[in-house]
């Protein structure tokens, strides 16, 4: 596969939440990517020390423009730097696209389940945007778990009127007044309605913190989903 490190220049930075950022880079020679794929970012310090971390792509391929979602982890070595310190116009190195497992190919027309925990929504946003851009007939059902209303990423894309996108938000700590459920972690009842609309071969994509992914994957299997159709991606 021999991926190469390419120079990536930061073009735009947008705040998604208090500590979540969309970063758009210009990467000359970027070969394009599939929805759900990730890339590696490499930072190099003055003394030659290097750190490499994986980040999910947040939008479908668009020439040499690459959009990432970065959640600043307090005390983290790389994410706070990318989220708030790397100046617009400055460069890092990137290799990718990476991974063919956590990918929505867009080939079929069956309904699709997406389950996101926090910034785990990033690769799923890439799938949502790709479906909309290609006009695929697949209906997407997104269950999105966040701590509170101020933690929602990609409001315009996800809350945008779309007959083929059904979004249900589960608040784990603080819910808005109009919420129809008490705050708390994802329960079987939250997954029952979206899974009822799936076909047996429908893929489910689950992305979030390790504990969240383990729990949701177990719930889906408990609801009768074939484990082979459940694709997961964990972050630390």
């Amino acid at each position: 596969m021999r991926t190469v490190w390419r120079t990536a220049r930061l073009a735009e930075r947008h705040a998604q939440t208090r500590s979540g950022r969309s970063l758009v880079f210009t990467v000359p020679g970027w070969p394009g990517h599939l929805p759900g794929q990730h890339l590696d970012v490499r930072l190099t310090a003055d003394d030659g020390y290097q750190a490499v971390r994986s980040y999910s792509l947040a939008a479908p391929a668009d020439g040499d423009r690459v959009e990432l979602g970065v959640q600043a982890v307090p005390g983290g070595e790389v994410s706070p730097y990318l989220a708030d310190e790397l100046p617009v116009g400055a460069a890092v190195e990137m290799r990718g696209p990476l991974g063919n497992w956590f990918v929505w190919s867009g080939a079929g027309d069956e309904p699709v389940l997406l389950v996101a925990g926090g910034s785990g929504v990033v690769p799923l946003a890439s799938m949502v945007r790709a479906r909309r851009a290609t006009g695929s007939p697949s209906a997407f059902h997104l269950l999105y778990s966040v701590r509170g209303p101020d933690e929602l990423w990609y409001r315009e894309d996800l809350l945008h009127e779309d007959p083929l996108l059904d979004v249900r938000i589960v608040y784990t700590r603080r819910s808005p007044q109009e919420a129809d459920r008490e705050p708390g972690r994802v329960l079987p009842a939250d997954l029952r309605a979206p899974t009822a609309r799936l076909e047996p071969a429908s893929p489910a994509y689950v992305c979030g913190p390790t504990g969240f992914v383990e729990s949701v994957a177990d719930l889906l299997v408990g609801l009768g989903r074939d484990p082979a159709t459940v694709r997961t991606e964990r972050f630390g």
């Binding site: 596969m1 991926t3 490499v52 994986s54 991974g99 063919n100 497992w101």
Partner: protein, 91 residues
């Protein structure tokens, strides 16, 4: 043996393995020799990244592979033993 430490999954091995493999590895199928569970490399539980990556069976924690990147070398073991392959790669 309960798991209280955080782990990632085999998706994060795509980049590091791309330095030494000719094909995309995360969809590769693996069968655990200890508990017979099988699945894609993407489904392995991965501990690290420092001081190295350890990929284990999600069912029984048997070691599937270990990978260490040091300067111009990538070290790889396949399975639970300690015999390693050392590859020279471009920095």
């Amino acid at each position: 043996m309960a798991d209280t430490s955080d782990h990632l999954d085999g998706n994060c091995l795509a980049g590091p393995l791309s330095e030494i493999l000719a094909l995309e590895p995360t969809t590769a199928w693996w069968r655990c020799p200890q508990c017979a569970r099988s699945g894609p490399l993407a489904g392995l539980h991965v501990y690290g990244p420092e001081p190295g990556l350890t990929a284990r069976c999600p069912g029984c924690a048997y070691i599937a592979l270990r990978l260490v990147r040091q300067g111009e070398h990538v070290w790889l073991t396949v399975g639970g033993g300690t015999g390693a392959f050392r590859f020279r790669v471009t920095p």
